[in-house]
Symmetry: C2
């Protein structure tokens, strides 16, 4: 998907919501475990059908699927296949936070783009240029590089200042722009980082930012928009737990739709200037 | 496995070799593709049986298996099960370079330690403390944190100096020691980094280091030993391509054994002082 296509979808749906499919067998409704052979996939399918009209992206996190071994990977494949065929305008982010030496990162790119047919994959920047570039070889596919994450540990290294006063996340933002354009590169910036979005927009004014951390992690959508929105929206705001675990009865999909719609309605307000 | 047990194995085998199972369907002998239903597993099994006496550790890299989808993951599970049951004294490293927010890193830990039953998993430090700690909850299991990697891109961020002159990889070495002891924490340091090993030993004198980059990537074993060996050896030196792809005929396993034995013989010399 191109940047322009993504922006058009955002305007059409009046939403820049990404629904995070962090599907955990201990949190999904228990009747699915009793009744279904592949409860992870059945759960995802119901969540997707209920929320697709309110969001422009889905983001399965590989950790949850890997924790069930081969069965989990089958559920992940089926989920991505389902989104791709039934909702081809959805931007599919494989949240994998991968990264290795060039030769090996190329294998992760095969997995994400050729096998799972994701639109984008999240990548960790620690190993530098050759760990990122193999993902960029695929036209119209995206790397979403970790810049400033939503968790407490983000302060341990990401905020380290070098001699010139540049912080590590700023160096990641600046340096990575030598490797790809804003047509293939986005950044992860946690919603919990509030005003830091202005600092980020100084270095990356045109890039899309994938923003986790609203909902369960406590970030504010209003603040993200205030400091982070650009002239093409430039934001994909993710909500995982608050949407997909809104309810754990047989009404779970309906409850997820209600939650997603609530976020979408707030987003529609922020998008009015584009429409 | 405890640190002492690992050191005992090193002395017994007169080897600190780790064989990297970067198993690539385009590089394994073609007769396996024609004759075998699960050529990745059959290849690994033959390599393991041929090299087990010369090494103390195996390190499958998840990227290679993921690039074949579910089939690849089945081959990975079978390979790790085979090592664990037939060669229980081998240290099994899942080279996955994972890391996510705490909740999610916990899922990767389930995958690595409960499901695949690895002895250790490689972890990327960018997201800080809560991305690393869930792996340390498992007694006798290890985190191998990326410090200074073997690739060219390692210079992009890992060598950044902060205001006090501390480089990022040094900060990772120092800070992570607040999270775990040298009984559960090792570091990845590329063999291509030569004299940097002395700088690393100033901060982490007692930790084991996992050292990729000899063989195909060009690092020197003599230099790694000179600057990196400590009083309990403290080194696991990995070779992947140079061992496992030593030959691609029906004699591939024999050729891998010859290569592994050659490295082991050199290592035996460096270990004489301990025996």
């Amino acid at each position: 998907m191109t940047k322009q296509e993504l922006f058009e979808n955002i305007k059409k749906k009046k939403s820049f919501l990404c629904v995070g499919l962090d599907t955990d067998i201990n949190k999904i409704p228990s009747h699915l475990l009793d009744e279904e052979e592949d409860p992870l996939y059945v759960f995802n399918k119901a969540i997707i059908d209920a929320t697709a009209r309110y969001c422009v992206a889905y983001k399965p996190n590989t950790a949850f699927y890997e924790s069930y071994g081969v069965k989990g990977l089958v559920a992940l494949e089926k989920t991505m296949e389902y989104i791709r065929t039934k909702y081809p305008d959805q931007f599919m982010i494989l949240d994998a936070k991968r990264g290795d030496i060039g030769n090996t990162s190329g294998m992760y790119a095969v997995s994400a783009f050729e096998h799972l047919k994701a639109s984008a994959v999240t990548v960790a920047p620690y190993m530098g240029e050759d760990s990122v570039k193999p993902f960029i070889k695929y036209p119209k596919k995206w790397v979403i590089l970790l810049a400033l994450t939503s968790n407490k540990g983000s302060a341990d290294f990401q905020l380290s200042e070098d001699k010139t006063g540049e912080r590590l996340f700023e160096k990641v933002l600046r340096k990575s722009q030598e490797w790809a354009t804003d047509e293939q590169l986005m950044y992860v910036v946690g919603a919990t980082q509030g005003k830091m979005f202005s600092d980020i927009r100084k270095i990356a004014p045109d890039h899309f930012l994938l923003v986790p951390g609203i909902g369960a992690q406590g970030g504010s959508l209003a603040e993200v928009v205030k400091y982070g929105m650009n002239s093409q929206c430039g934001l994909l705001v993710n909500s995982s737990r608050a949407v997909i675990y809104a309810d754990n009865t047989r009404e779970f999909a309906f409850a997820a739709a209600v939650e997603a719609k609530k976020v979408q309605a707030e987003m529609a307000g922020y998008l009015e200037k584009f429409i």
